[in-house]
Amino acid sequence: MDLSLILEVSDLTVGPVTPGSAPILDHISLRLNTSDIFGIYGESGAGKTILSRALANWLPESLEYRVGLIAFAGHDILKPGTQEVRTGRDIAYIGSKPQSSLDPTVPVGSQIAEKLHSVRPEWNRRECRERVMQLLSEVRIPSPRERYWDYPSKFSGGMMQRAMIVDAICAEPAVLIADNVTQPLDVTIAAQIVALLHDLCLRHRMATIYLSSSLPTLGQFGDRTAILHRGRFIEQQAFGELLAAPKMDYTRKAIASVPRMWSTADGPAVRRQAQGEMPLMQVQQVYRTYRARKRGTFNSYSNVQAVRGVTLDIMPRENFGIVGESGCGKSTLTRLLAWLEVPDQGSILLNGTSLGGLSRGDLIRKRNEFQLLLQDPYNALPPRTTVGRMIEESLLIRGKVPRVELRRRVIAAMAEVGLAPELYDQLPNALSTGERQRISIARALILDPKLLILDETLSALDQREQGRLIDLFSKLQEKNDLTYVFISHDLAMVRKVCTRIAVMYLGEMVEIADNRELFYDPQHPYTKALLSAAPTLEDKRFNPSDFLLEGEPPSPIDIPAGCSFASRCPKAFGRCRVETPDLIEHSPGRLVACHLLDSGEVKAAA
């Protein structure tokens, strides 16, 4: 292993151009050898992106280098006019926004080849093109020769990030800076990218600096890690030692704040069950397909099958969780459950009444019983409206209410969710994310619902706010006899809160089970992959490398016959590609859709 020093940073200080302002990076020093992988942990706002940009000699105009030296193989990269070191050729950067990193009007492959030719003019254009195509296949983009000519909008997030990796490494840089590269990606895709990056760095012998706001992701690399806090490196050790014996308080707190899935006994309270209970909401064989006109033909349409035959029952006072990655159809299902869209087939019953059969007036009345809370509290509330007016709207839609009565009921709802009555006439501009979510909750609660559907409602919050809102939810559940449906991609949150969980993949439910059973004894291969990829610091119950998935889910337009997971399943066999497995109750309370569970097949596959 080549241990020569490739990048040396000494006392790097960066700050805004205005004189006298406080520095953003303060005396950062590090030494990087060839083949090293150096991890940097920083919360958002700690200066991670600025550090990554500073190292690449790419500061925005509002910032400047104040003190310090960055030496690449002995050459000072900050000296103007340096020919020995060029960003793009010797030092490469991969960012966290792959979708907006390339010109949307030029094919992806052409742009990478353009970059390659710019930084290595000694290679002619044909050579550059060949090299790019070869690298595209190395990062496992299917059909690389065709995808070379595709435009950025045709690439999914994971694919685009792979393309950006190609863009970074094609010129054979000696140093690679990866800034939060997996943040926008789904869990299983992120796991793939991290493994891919690790592999490439070792194979191409690139020194890598990997910055992330997720400690578990850094753990996957395992080497020397630094903690960035308020612009300074407060600690620097090998990752394993960092976890075992953190020196600084801040590090200890950061480690503690990573949610735990496996080593905790925490779980939701057991549901009060009544005898002979009817389900509160019944979803029966619901289908929803979108028709999009195919470009390039006269009148043919592609069918996007977003939800395919979902059946489930939600019992009263339950916390039902629905988890899945992007593209699985959970957003569409959410809209169906909230009756914002009508299913093409199948029906949804609330307390025995089918929602499809209701007249307009009856529907508005029935809406009192089930409400939806949205994810983004900034966009979910109407602009330029006071807090009180927003909550009043729920009542005003249903008819005139005398002013005094209106005000009283709104203040009562605000009190229930913990909003001070003074906020009634104020605009929500100064409120925090958590407080804004409370406004959403208040305007739903004022209708006295029985069922609340939460669409990623807790995803935008930090741990503390999340905790507070979860407490509020339990309190309200006790008091008002509420039932919750949580739709989320955050497995740790779901583990803490939900009593029963359904796993969704490509429009179908693949497994439904109780909390403990799902997490400790999952039956479906996709569930196992999902759980193994979920980032935590603990010893994983399922080893990621055993369950690493290949590629991406098939497009919902072109769903292959048989089990939709077969194309990526490590345990797929003949029957899987022909026959779609049904969601069968293999043991009481556990539904799984997998051929492996038919006892005969288990023996055959083993």
Binding site: T87, D103, P104, T105, K115, S118
Partner: protein, 326 residues
């Protein structure tokens, strides 16, 4: 395939638009007061002569019938014949009575085809001048959003858009043509006669190009991919000209499509002032003389040109940016 579908769809829509336009103009002419027959036979003619001529010309039939007749002719490529101009080319004025049903009147299609090239030449030169003026100013203004270049672009654009075109024409004729004798003004006797009108017209078009260019270039330069292109190793020249300008061009191309209407209006006035022998000139004279067939013919031609150019514009936009809806 996509392009083929696009063309078929748009041409079909275009035909519909031309059809509706011709119907609107056709009806308007016959509904709004002002009898062409009166103008032809002269103010002195007795009412029964007027009626006789009008009936022979078919102007007393119901509008639908008249329109049907017109459409039938149109499908055979016949746009009718002028009410005022005989084939020999001289216009009949109020005093002289030329019975349009008897003598051989100039076919409208000939009149239009004779003048269309002049108007197209004027429009083309004006566009060229406008682009030559606007691009340097617009690009400089777009790249330096807070510098003097932007203020200059802003100032130039505000100034140009505030000058009435006819006034500018008069002033320029006064100075460049009469006093300084640099460029010829009225009529057409050679290519140099198109320059002054084109210049005036270009001052009318330029401000919109400058404005769109500075705004959209400014926006594009803020985009993430432009910023990131720097760290990927692309040179500034390449970033601006191969990527930023390309992205900024799409709103510009769309703008040209929309501005077309204004352009046509400007051409009309300019031709009138400069006595330039184009379609605009023909239009003014025909409307004043209530020469229905010519007016209708011009309306159809204008519509068709409009549709055609919009199709080209959309196609160009798609070539630049494949996300464009076509």
């Amino acid at each position: 395939m996509l392009i083929l579908e696009f063309l078929v769809k748009r041409i079909a829509q275009g035909l519909l638009i031309v059809f509706i336009t011709s119907l609107i103009i056709f009806t308007l002419l016959r509904v709004v007061p002002g009898d062409p027959v009166r103008l032809i036979v002269g103010g002195m003619a007795p009412p029964d002569v007027v009626e006789k001529v009008a009936t022979k010309m078919g102007l007393r039939d119901p509008i639908i019938v008249q329109y049907g007749r017109y459409m039938r002719g149109l499908l055979q490529g016949d746009l009718g014949q002028s009410y005022l101009r005989p084939r020999s080319g001289m216009i009949a004025t109020g005093g002289q009575y030329i019975d349009p049903t008897k003598s051989d009147m100039a076919p409208v299609i000939d009149l239009i085809l004779e003048r269309l090239p002049f108007t197209l030449q004027l429009g083309g030169m004006a566009l060229l001048f406008a682009l030559l003026i606007s691009f340097p100013i617009g690009i400089a203004g777009g790249l330096h959003q807070h510098g003097w270049q932007n203020a200059l672009a802003f100032g130039v654009q505000s100034l140009f858009v505030s000058i009435p075109n006819f006034w500018l024409a008069i002033v320029l004729i006064l100075f460049l043509s009469v006093k300084l004798k640099l460029l010829p003004a009225l009529g057409y006797q050679g290519f140099s006669y198109v320059l002054l009108p084109a210049l005036v017209l270009s001052v009318e078009i330029a401000p919109f190009i400058i404005r769109t260019l500075t705004t959209s270039l400014g926006e594009v330069m803020q985009a993430n991919f432009i910023d990131e292109a720097r760290v990927r190793g692309l040179s500034r020249r390449r970033i601006v000209y191969s990527h930023a300008l390309r992205n900024a061009a799409v709103p510009l191309v769309n703008l040209l499509g929309i501005q077309l209407s204004t352009l046509i209006g400007g051409v009309l006035v300019i031709e009138y002032i400069f006595d330039y022998p184009g379609l605009g000139n023909l239009t003014v004279v025909s409307v004043v003389g209530r020469d229905f067939p010519v007016i209708q013919g011009i309306a159809i031609t204008t519509s068709a040109v409009f549709v055609f150019i919009n199709i080209i514009v959309d196609l160009v936009a798609y070539t630049i940016d494949p996300r464009v809806e076509i």
